[in-house]
């Protein structure tokens, strides 16, 4: 088994404005995201030899992407892997290049969530897809269960726990103000975040990410071809994907204070990239803060913080733009927004821009290695993608 490290490169990326884009169709988002990527890479749509399209509820086959872009008679594969769909779309496209089957490919993720009341075509049932007898609630309750247990396990009072989660939200809101394409671009105070209306106890409004429309795209090729196209192409260092097999809800041993799928995906990605000490070696991370508790767990699951020490690092400002390991520099899902299958590619877009030094007011000082993390699904059945990128 060979590592994907340094075998594929990104030579162009695009990302639409995220938000409630009432006047845009999912095909508009495909066109806007992909044409920015084509322009960035200096190529024409006809140069694309194969494409992968990620969506959960916006266009159900590859033909929808082909139709929007007029990609004529080339292979287009649709990928669906819930909230990890964007990164998994990218991952599949990379293997298309690494296999030698194609020289230059497109990965695109688009979600037009706001054509559906509430942003979801369907709610998320608990791990076992049975006769509709289970919870029929939005995903927040799944993650709220993690927060409940985290607070309980570490003896945090509701106020202590809320303070940590609120600080994560305040950080991501601040970063969002520096991201022109983000859905929410407004500072919030700790008090606002502490006292916002409850959504699912113990998580409140400011713990939850926005449901947005948006799209993002990447042009992927070999490092050899990339060299001929631009100097500042970005290299893929690792691509990991894990799926839970129901363990969390089948096995009472599971503790609900970590996401094992994230731990396993991180471990695999670090091995591929040759990273021994993530906190030291990763310069920035764009992670799946669908809820603030998820971001807190990710700090620990990906080895940024020791187990149980995430709150201390939050208090110390470790993950702010100026901190030791900036996380969600673009505002994260919280403020950039979360069009499910577009999110992974939006995260890669941010890492790509940061590694190129083009992130404007939110540019981090040292940006050699960037990490992207997505997790989607429900306890026991999460799918988790981790990708690591480096400068050329």
């Amino acid at each position: 088994m060979e590592s994907i490290k340094d075998r594929v490169a990104i030579v162009g990326m695009g990302c639409t404005q995220f938000g409630e884009l009432w006047d845009k169709s999912y095909k508009d988002l495909m066109v806007d995201a992909c044409y920015e990527a084509f322009e960035d890479a200096g190529i024409e749509p006809k140069d694309i030899q194969a494409a992968w399209y990620g969506s959960r509820e916006s266009g159900f086959t590859g033909a929808h992407l082909a139709n929007a872009l007029k990609l004529e008679y080339i292979p287009v594969t649709r990928v669906e892997n819930f909230c990890a769909g964007g990164t998994d779309t990218f991952r599949n496209a990379c293997y298309g290049v690494a296999s030698g089957a194609y020289d230059i490919v497109l990965a695109c993720g688009v979600e037009k969530t706001k054509d559906h009341m509430g942003g979801f075509t369907m709610y998320v049932t608990t791990p076992f897809d049975r006769s509709m007898v289970e919870w029929d609630l939005p995903p927040v309750s799944q993650f709220a269960q993690l927060a409940t247990r985290y607070f309980h396990h570490y003896g945090l009072s509701y106020e202590e726990g809320r303070r940590i989660l609120s600080k994560i939200s305040v950080k991501n809101h601040h970063n969002g103000t520096l991201s022109p394409k983000a859905h929410f671009r407004r500072e919030i105070t700790l008090e606002q975040a502490m006292n916002a209306p409850m959504i699912s106890y113990p998580l409140n409004l400011f713990d939850a990410c926005g449901m947005s429309d948006g799209g993002a795209a990447a042009i992927i090729t070999t490092p050899e071809i990339a060299k001929s196209m631009r100097k500042d192409y970005i290299l893929v260092k690792a691509l990991a994907l894990t799926n839970g097999a129901g363990q969390a809800t089948l096995q009472p041993e599971y503790d609900y204070i970590h996401i094992p799928e994230s731990v396993a995906a991180g471990k695999s990605a670090y091995e591929q990239a040759g990273i021994k000490n993530p906190r030291q070696e990763v310069d920035l991370a764009i992670v799946h803060d669908c809820f603030t508790i998820t971001e807190l767990l990710i700090y620990e699951d990906l080895g940024f913080s020791p187990r149980g020490k995430g709150p201390e690092d939050v208090e110390a400002g470790t993950f702010t733009l100026e901190g030791e390991l900036p996380v969600n520099t673009d505002g994260g899902l919280k403020c950039f927004g979360h069009p499910l299958s577009a999110s992974g590619l939006r995260m890669i877009y941010e890492v790509y821009k940061q590694l190129q030094g083009k992130a404007g007011p939110r540019q981090v000082k040292k940006a050699d290695i960037g990490l992207v993390h997505n997790v989607g699904g429900v306890n026991g059945l999460f799918n988790c993608a981790v990708a690591i990128f480096g400068k050329s």
């Binding site: 559906h116 009341m117 509430g118 979801f120 075509t121 369907m122 709610y123 608990t126 791990p127 076992f128 049975r130 006769s131 509709m132 007898v133 289970e134 919870w135 029929d136 609630l137 939005p138 927040v140 309750s141 799944q142 709220a144 269960q145 993690l146 927060a147 409940t148 247990r149 309980h152 209306p197 409850m198 959504i199 699912s200 106890y201 113990p202 998580l203 097999a245 129901g246 363990q247 809800t249 089948l250 096995q251 009472p252 599971y254 609900y256 306890n379």
Partner: protein, 467 residues
């Protein structure tokens, strides 16, 4: 000797203060939660009745109600599944009459006398609605009673029975009616209830050779708080000493289940040798004489009426009552379409209705829902069924959704670990949000999950252990 070998009851946790219905109205009436109906209440009463008994010995289940969820479809099998009874038993619904509870009881007695069954469960439940503002609305309560009839280990033997019928338009509900209708109360009660139950009781005493003083307790169905008293005194009983309290102040008239529930209450206070007279009403009357045996002491370990009445949550908000009973429209979840699949429900009924998980025969891991490949040792298809419905559990973690439209916010979701093994994710109901915490002991309760397009889907929820 044929008789009652075990008894059980169920009264919903929620009580509506009658002040919410009319200024100055006294007491409380028991009301179903939004996720309860006659099927779930009957299942709970049946489980109470089966406490400590071998469920495999039950040969029949008769369900009596005027409020079945279905016009055409048997409801007894749903209750039989929830009570985890054998598949090769006789099941029937007794319906359309407030007398259906005692009709089922007579049928059970006859089946055992005829030798076609050794043990038959009679479970009666009702949740009738009175028109807003009516006396019925104040009088009606919701609840269920269950009696296990058999010919061995009899706790109260059936000494004699007597029935009469009458045809009268006193109280009725026609196709499409939500609320119970009646003729003028004085006519209906005089020539209906008083006259007919009087005939049945007098006829029974005459036939069996008893006089009023022979009974330790008399148990009468009554349409309201007063008429049972009037009837008992007109028949020569000592109301204070003999008449079973109709529980009007704490529960109300629970329809088909009412006479059975009052009988359970009487049995709870009875001692060996006591003779009990018991009569129902509904276009006629079924009357019985029972005699309590020493065996009664062996079936005391039930929540029954006392246990269920002792723990309650009083509601004073009439709007909440109307919403829970489907009498006010409420905001539905927009967008997402919940689909219901009859094949999936059928395929998964062992898990969903019986609440059976599996136990791996190789490594012993208990898993819910049933798996093909063991989560622990990965052995394929080597499992034995494992009943979880009667196991206690503890909350491992939980969440409380305040936003998604639901009849009883917040919607509490729990991940629970069963004593003895096994984990499950499920809704929690009958809870105070303040009491929900990690480690809270819970038990399982059979509830209505979906009520859509005429189909009711049932599943299990966690509830705080009802002491």
């Amino acid at each position: 000797m044929v008789g009652i070998t075990s008894y059980g009851a169920y009264v919903p946790l929620f009580r509506l203060n009658r002040e919410a219905l009319a200024k100055g109205a006294r007491g409380e009436k028991a009301i179903c939660g939004f996720d309860e109906d006659s099927v779930t209440m009957a299942a709970a009463a049946a489980s109470d009745c089966l406490n400590g008994l071998d469920r495999g010995t039950v040969d029949g289940l008769y369900f009596a109600t005027t409020t079945s969820p279905y016009k055409e479809k048997l409801a007894a099998p749903i209750i039989a599944m929830a009570a985890d009874l054998r598949e090769d038993i006789f099941t029937a619904d007794f319906a359309h009459s407030l007398r259906a509870g005692t009709s089922a009881l007579r049928a059970a007695i006859d089946a055992i006398k005829a030798g076609s069954a050794k043990k038959v469960m009679v479970a009666a439940a009702d949740c009738r609605l009175g028109t807003p503002g009516s006396a019925f609305e104040q009088n009606f309560g919701d609840g269920a009673g269950a009696l296990l009839i058999g010919d061995s280990d009899v706790a109260a033997s059936i000494e004699a029975s007597y029935s009469v019928y009458n045809e009268i338009m006193d109280v009725w509900r026609a196709e499409g009616d939500t609320f119970v209708r009646s003729w003028e109360d004085r006519f209906a009660v005089t020539h209906g209830y008083m006259e007919v139950v009087g005939e049945a009781v007098s006829g029974l005493m005459k036939k069996a050779g008893f006089k009023p003083g022979d009974f330790a307790k008399v148990v009468f169905y009554t349409p309201d708080a007063r008429r049972g008293v009037d009837l008992a005194s007109s028949l020569g009983f000592d109301v204070k000493a003999q008449l079973q309290d109709p529980l009007f102040a704490t529960m109300g008239n629970t329809g088909t289940a009412y006479p059975l529930m009052l009988l359970v209450a009487a049995l709870e206070g009875a001692k060996a040798g006591d003779r009990i007279l018991f009569a129902s009403y509904g276009n006629g009357s079924d009357a019985f004489v029972l005699q309590v045996t020493e065996q009664i002491e062996k079936v005391r370990d039930r929540r029954g009426m006392k246990g269920h009445l002792a723990l309650k949550k009083v509601i004073t908000d009439y709007k909440q009552y109307l919403v829970w009973h489907g009498l006010l429209p409420r905001e539905e979840i927009p967008g997402p379409i919940r689909f219901f699949s009859a094949p999936a429900a059928w395929r998964e009924s062992e898990a969903n209705l019986r609440l059976r998980g599996v136990k791996c025969q190789v490594c012993g891991a208990i898993q819910f829902p049933p798996q093909r490949v063991c989560t622990k040792c990965h052995t394929k298809d080597q499992f034995e069924p494992y009943r979880l419905s009667d196991k206690k559990a503890k909350i491992f973690t939980f969440a409380m959704d305040y936003v998604t439209p639901a009849p009883d916010l917040p919607t509490v979701t729990t991940t629970i670990d069963f004593d003895g093994g096994g984990r499950m994710e499920c809704y929690m109901t009958d809870r105070e949000p303040e009491q929900v915490k990690c480690g809270l002991p819970v038990e399982m309760s059979f509830r209505k999950i979906i009520d859509k397009d005429g189909a009711r889907i049932y599943f299990w929820k966690s509830i705080p252990v009802r002491v």
